[in-house]
Amino acid sequence: MHGYVRTGNSQPAWLFPFVVITVLILSVLPLARLAMVGIAAFANGGVLTVLGDPSVWSATYYTIVTALFGTIISLVIGCLFAFLLTLTDITGKGLLSFFFVLPMMIPPQVTALAWVQMSGPSSPLLKALSIAPPLGSPQPLYSVGGIALLYGVQHAPLVYLALRAGLMTLPRDGVEAARLSGASSLRVFRDIILPLSLPGIIAGAAISFVSCTGNFGIPAILGIPASIFTLPTLIFTKFSAFTSRTFGDVAVLSGIIAMISVAGLMIQDRALRGRDYRIIGLSGASAAFELGAWRFAFTPLLWAILFFMLAAPFSALVAGALVPAYGVPLTFKTMSLHAFEEILFRQAVTRTAFVNSLSLAAATAICLLTVTVLAAYALTRRRDAASRIVSSLIEIPYSLPGIVMAVSFILVFAAPIPFLHISLYGTIWIILIAYLSSFFAVSLKPVVSAFHQLDPALEEAARLSGAGFFRRLFDIIVPLIAPAAGASVILVFLIACNELTISALLWSAGTQTLGVAIYNLDDSGSSDLTSALSVLVVLMVVVMMLLLEFLAKRLPKGVVPWRS
């Protein structure tokens, strides 16, 4: 009979297989390939040679130590902001929150450069203020401590967001009941709020730790000059000195990173066990505490931290961009816009980088949007074991450090694709595919939450009106999830635009991204051009974040990360 379908399912028969195949290509294939190469390296004894290399062990040591201290620093700063901004009546919450999350969105190598420009004997800013240390004194940030400090600054927003999400669901009546039982503010905090917010703190610590182990930008700028190598920078240098053994070596090194990350996540799992406090009753502990006279201590403290995290490094970056060369003090006489002119209009390399990054980011965001709308539809409507497995497969590439995914994709595409005989290695397409894989989860999350808020009857009404799948997709579903889809596009664009770790391994002549261009310019010593490019990137980030901020009112809760 014509027009009949097998079941009453609202999805066309091709939809779920399409999602599954996409996930197989983007998530399963690269990781399976990585595992295969790693196992092959085991089999032919290559692993023993790698593990016998002392540089591997020192890199592993530095990775763990910097990640641990970085996590502790991010925990301290992140918790302070989360508790004060969520639970107290401190003024200017919106502004503080926006500024505090900003470092997370700024590319790590830009953060590192800004801090280098801010401190040390040749800082143009310190020189302009005549407080620079004497020439010849060491740059304090080129050290394990420096790397850990910047990890802390970069990832504190992650802790903040994880903890804040937990604090927003705290039971207000629970706090009030404790108050009526006679507990003082401090006791309520210690006995009620701290235990209930522990899951958020643990989750934040785990995310921060995993991000630290995979970070490339910060140890590349701060570690390499001092010969401190972490695993990601070691992989990078192995690729620079390419030999026949490189693939096996980097597969093993990525395996070590992946194992450290998984260990971190397992410790989190362990710590969270038995702490599943379902919140009952009224939630929303907004302004549970009045600061009173303490506000005069805390408000300046928060702004001072933001000054050192953001304002000072950014001013140093601007100062660095305005002076003709590193080490020249900034005065009205030395100031010029020459560097901006150079990177925007003269240097072909930076222009190509702009074009590459913007088009890669746009292509990633738009391709992913198409896939995620279909995937979110299929996954929210199915709700069976298969769809849960697919959802977690989508999460894996995002939760693994970017460098692991980059290595995996190199391994997949190093040889030409069988049957098609096309080689993607060295082209811009390999970067695009790696981005699609890594940012799938980022793109999916807002769209899925929009689908969950959508009344299924709205689609059913369209079905009874006679609209087929694509018709109701374009007439009903897409317009209704448009705000979330817009947010997803901007978020992916923002992250892809500033990405360095993946492109640092995958770029070749002509396919450099903005992140790579900044790194290379710094490597070649043109600090004024590096600073100018970094300033432009930071401005771009701020503009996109403001765009999201304006969209926020029309979005489902939790889509814009820094808003409640």
Partner: protein, 339 residues
């Protein structure tokens, strides 16, 4: 228009107990069928199978000569030419009232003058012609309901399904909408299936009432018939506010008079037949059986009285004069129905 036939329909969600089982029903053409039952009895599942949102695990659904669904295959909802008023109204918030109503026409490729005329006609039939340009968010609950109804009207569907459409409205608005539904049914001549748990809605609106419980169909009959001659305890308890007595009456006559009941009331043993007694058939006073007043509710035009008979069974009746709890009275049961 065509006759809708449900043939031994069953649905099992795999929860251990089937949601619907062995459900057979013929809906007469142009009829207004109310599907009545307590919540969770499977009535919404039946409606969603008719619409095509669920596929039957067994049995089949026929519309006229065509099989529209059986266990192996189903016509998707978009090809069934049905319409539905959802409990949440399901108006599309990004479209104006006129666009919402006209969408089924747009999907069918109707445009221009014909489109405008049909939308205008549908809107004026629910008295919303002046609201064409508004967004659903700017309307009140009753107005949204009427937009949803106009959307059903616009394509002259074979079957109109209504899923507890009055559940979210206040009492005053309910009455007004009941009026609108009746008018709508008379004018359109469409076959309508109306799911509700409220027996008074079902009685007022429907030409036929189908009573469901625990996934099974218990009885289908016109409202007056089902009120007067319910089958079984469940239907008897669901329809109206009668009391069910268990009395040792003789014979097999189903309609019982005071003469048949009088002796049974005085008998000591209480096993026997289930007898449904409507409160309007109970007269307080005279030479009847002794009873004690348990509770009295003043309802304006009369008192609703809950009584306990000598054999400690509960009876409901009406009284024109005030009685007080604890008072000993005599009651006459003028009519009863053997279930």
């Amino acid at each position: 228009m065509a006759k809708l036939i449900l043939n031994r329909l069953a649905k099992d969600f795999g929860t251990g107990r089937p949601a619907v089982s062995d459900f057979s029903l013929d809906v007469r053409e142009g009829g207004f069928l109310a599907l009545l039952g307590p919540s969770g009895c499977g009535k919404t599942t039946v409606l969603r199978m008719i619409a095509g949102f669920e596929t039957p695990s067994d049995g089949s659904i026929h519309l006229g000569e065509r099989v529209i669904a059986d266990a192996a295959q189903a016509l998707p909802p978009e090809k069934r030419n049905m319409a539905m008023v959802f409990q949440s109204y399901a108006l599309w918030p990004h479209m104006s009232v006129a666009d919402n109503v006209g969408y089924p026409l747009k999907v069918r490729g109707i445009s221009g003058e014909a489109y405008r005329a049909k939308v205008g006609e549908a809107l004026s039939s629910v008295r919303l012609a002046d609201y064409a340009g508004r967004r659903p968010a700017d309307l009140s609950g009753g107005q949204r309901q009427r937009v949803a109804l106009a959307r059903c009207l616009v394509t002259s569907p074979d079957v109109v399904l209504l899923d507890e459409p009055l559940a979210n409205l206040d009492r005053h608005l309910k009455q007004e909408m009941e009026e609108t539904f009746r008018e709508f049914h008379q004018r359109s001549g469409a076959t309508m299936i109306y799911v509700t748990h409220d027996q008074s809605e079902a009685m007022v609106l429907a030409t036929d009432v189908a009573v469901m419980s625990e996934g099974r169909l218990l009885q289908v009959a016109p409202p007056a018939e089902i009120y007067a001659r319910p089958e079984g305890r469940v239907v008897g308890g669901l329809i109206g506010r009668g009391a069910i007595l268990t009395l040792p009456v003789m014979g097999s006559e189903r309609h019982l008079e005071w003469d048949d009941l009088q002796d049974a009331l005085h008998a000591a043993n209480t096993d026997g037949a289930d007898i449904l007694v409507r409160p309007e058939d109970v007269t307080i006073g005279g030479e009847g059986a002794p009873a004690t007043v348990e509770a009295v509710l003043f309802e304006g035009e009369r008192y609703a009285v809950k009584l306990t008979l000598g054999n400690s069974q509960t009876l409901r009746g009406f009284s024109r004069v005030a009685v007080v709890p604890g008072e000993r009275v005599r009651v006459v049961i003028r009519a009863g129905w053997r279930l």
